[in-house]
Symmetry: C2
Subunit: 455 residues, 2 copies
């Protein structure tokens, strides 16, 4: 036999069980997005490279998968050019299209391209794969799904409130206990301002963002390395080490930032969001965390991140408000706020905590065992009857040994098997066996439907 | 403002309305597949080119989108090679990966790669996009979804029966009246055999497959052009023109094919499938059509095709049995049977017949109008309450003019708006307006939930 075929490194096949579990996650997110009035869109896997290039930094450009033009892709590139040009320059001549790298840039492109058809505020969600030519490693793939929701065209903080409710609802439905961390870019700006280092805001936040990972001493070392003087570092300490309830933290910060207009604005924004959420029955804690910074070049207002409480893993959801989604495509001043669920990490959390419900295995509710042509014909009719009641059912297609059929039932996570042998046919009965408990009962067709509906 | 960004030709953005309607189709197909015990898998968008090349004919190889290798893709290709080699040869040196062209070859690759984990029979479905560098034209795209279901590892005709039930169920749920056409490759072989032209089976079936499109005279011209003698063409006429019920046709053909073992086998297979379906309450007609041939190089047993009755459009679903899915990957003798729904055409049929249910517009069930901060806070609580009952709800995030908010409600296909002004707040009531009928009623929060649940 020939060598087994394989797939490109960093990509994955999802078999039936893994797929059923992934669908359980995606459907939960999808349903909650829809419950809050977000509407799904899809964009093409391929975008023009002019849309993608320059949007993810120099490193990002290298990580774009580029698609060779059809036909004679060499057109106009001579052998001399071929020798003179760099690979990246040549690629730009051979390729007009690339695979999307994230969902944000295609969304920005979509909004600008369809600006005349869109009703603002535009609440969209998008669940599609993205591709990155990263070096594959544990937990990092070259093809993976992103699950983004954004509201653009509204400055209202009610959008932030709804996104936090969505996060709370999704993780409650999945059974994952989380802490939602919130911060605000304006608070970080205010801090930099009051310690007299407004120009160092990026360096400072990059450093304090690492508190969880490297500890206070090393954060202070990094702050020093950015050129911050000891007085400024001193003034940062109570802020980095801030403890207490959200209300207590807000009080302390309101004092600390008294001299900074932008800082106080950030405090007000966070206070509004926390206040609105206080009455809404969140089931997970929301925690003001001043060390939370995320991608600062992008976010301009509230930022959030979600950590699982019972598993050691990076953030499983994140997001924030930005001021200029579409400026890069010539449409400035469009503000928005968004979140993104990390499906692969959520998968791992559910797996580690063993939280998948039985139904998420995706097996049929009932498999009719095949004892021969006459019995199978009878089972076909019974299967049609239970399916009309919305119950997923299969008739084993071949009348092979019972053992093989039961093996199939086990391997495909079937919940019940139904046996109709000669005796049952005569009596018009079905023997139903629960595959989990092993319990068996003899039932009429009507009782069969009822029993499966209740199961 | 800069030039509007665009997407590659032959690709599409799916906005919220189109997406909701596509989801309505995909979810219907998905639910019916699951109802019959098919389990979903997904394979990567990128496959190794060694997996894809040579599987779709010479023309197909040209239509594969190839992905430029990362880094220095020129590695080992000198300027002299560059001038000497053909574009296709160069592409093979620059690219290891390509985008999948259909779902069948990746499925075959999947089955061989995972043969040791798979429990046979393996019933899988797969709904994913495929990419072809075809010249774009009306109804033909460079990126489009396929929706395939296959059972491999079972020769039983019960699989054919279930697939026909699935077809019937899907189109019944969608409200599309269809005719299911069935034929069998063995019958076609038998015909070629009895007219003494077994070697011309492919030519004959290609010609008679065109009966619908070009008429009998031109079909006969084509048959002559294949080198068939007049006696053979004469003997074909009653077969091409066969009329009557399925039972009558089978009787006539059983006589006509009396001398052909394979032909009679084909008759028996079709008779079994039609017989099993007769008692199963199909709601659409199933029709033995001897002119149906489809891709003969691939199919070996029953073949089927679905035509919409009320719209002029090509076949909207097709499939059949094949004998050797995985031989090309070194695993011979694996038989299977499959179907594929044509989502884009089904979309057009539903569109033309105006068959989309209101809910398929994907709008929220209720939008709370925003009259100011105090009212909005009240609406946030009410929205949380209705969502707990599973009702999709939005609070308009900004307290802008009523007209603008109603415009949003209309544009996003919201089903009801809820108004909570100063007066309503005092009384603890909500005014609910049905956006279709224009009817308004004042309700308590509990009555609001009940009214929306019943709507």
């Amino acid at each position: 036999m020939a060598q087994k075929p394989s797939i490109p490194k960093g990509t994955r096949d999802f078999g039936p069980l893994e797929m059923a579990r992934r669908n359980y996650i995606f459907n939960t997110i999808r349903q909650v997005y829809a419950l809050y009035g977000f509407r799904q869109i899809e964009t093409p896997a391929m975008e023009n490279l002019s849309t993608l290039m320059g949007k993810y930094g120099e490193e990002g450009d290298k990580l774009l998968f580029k698609i060779l033009n059809s036909g004679d892709f060499r057109h106009g590139v001579t052998a001399a050019d071929y020798e003179a040009l760099q690979p990246a320059q040549l690629a730009a001549r051979y390729c007009d299209k690339g695979l999307r790298y994230d969902l944000t840039v295609p969304f920005a492109r979509y909004v600008v391209q369809h600006r005349d058809e869109l009703q603002m505020p535009f609440k969209r969600y998008q669940i599609q794969p993205v591709w990155r030519a990263d070096r594959p490693q544990k937990g990092r793939y070259r093809e993976f799904y992103q699950c983004d929701a954004d509201v653009v065209g509204s400055d209202s903080l009610l959008n932030e409130v709804e996104l936090m409710q969505i996060v709370d609802e999704v993780f409650t439905r999945l059974g994952i206990r989380v802490c939602i961390k919130i911060n605000n870019r304006k608070i970080l700006s205010g801090i930099a301002e009051v310690i007299g280092a407004a120009d160092k805001i990026v360096d400072i936040t990059v450093a304090i963002d690492k508190l969880d990972k490297i500890g206070l001493d090393k954060v202070n070392d990094e702050l020093r390395a950015t050129g911050l003087n000891e007085a400024a570092i001193e003034r940062l300490q109570p802020i980095i080490n801030l403890q207490g309830t959200n209300a207590e933290k807000l009080d302390v910060m309101r004092q600390a930032l008294a001299g900074s207009e932008v800082g106080l604005k950030g405090i007000d924004e966070v206070a509004f969001v926390l206040d609105a959420l206080a009455g809404s029955g969140l089931r997970n804690a929301i925690d003001l965390d001043l060390t939370l910074a995320r991608g600062l070049n992008y976010y301009t207002g509230c930022i959030f991140e979600v950590k699982a409480l019972d598993v050691q893993i990076g953030s499983i959801t994140g997001g924030g408000r930005y001021d200029n989604l579409t400026g890069i495509f010539g449409m400035p001043g469009l503000s928005g706020v968004g979140i993104s669920f990390g499906a692969d990490r959520i998968y791992d959390v559910l797996d580690q905590l063993n939280l998948y419900p039985e139904a998420a295995a995706g097996g049929s509710q009932v498999l009719f065992i095949n004892f021969g042509p006459a019995e199978a014909a009878c089972c076909l009719r019974l299967a049609a009857q239970v399916r009309r009641a919305g119950i997923s059912a299969e008739v084993y297609p071949d009348s092979v040994k019972m053992k093989k059929q039961m093996q199939y039932a086990n391997a495909t996570h079937v919940q019940h098997v139904a046996l109709v042998g000669e005796e049952e046919m005569k009596q018009g009965l079905v023997t139903l066996k629960n595959m989990t408990t092993g319990q068996q009962q003899q039932l009429t067709p009507e009782e069969l439907v009822a029993a499966l509906q209740q199961a």
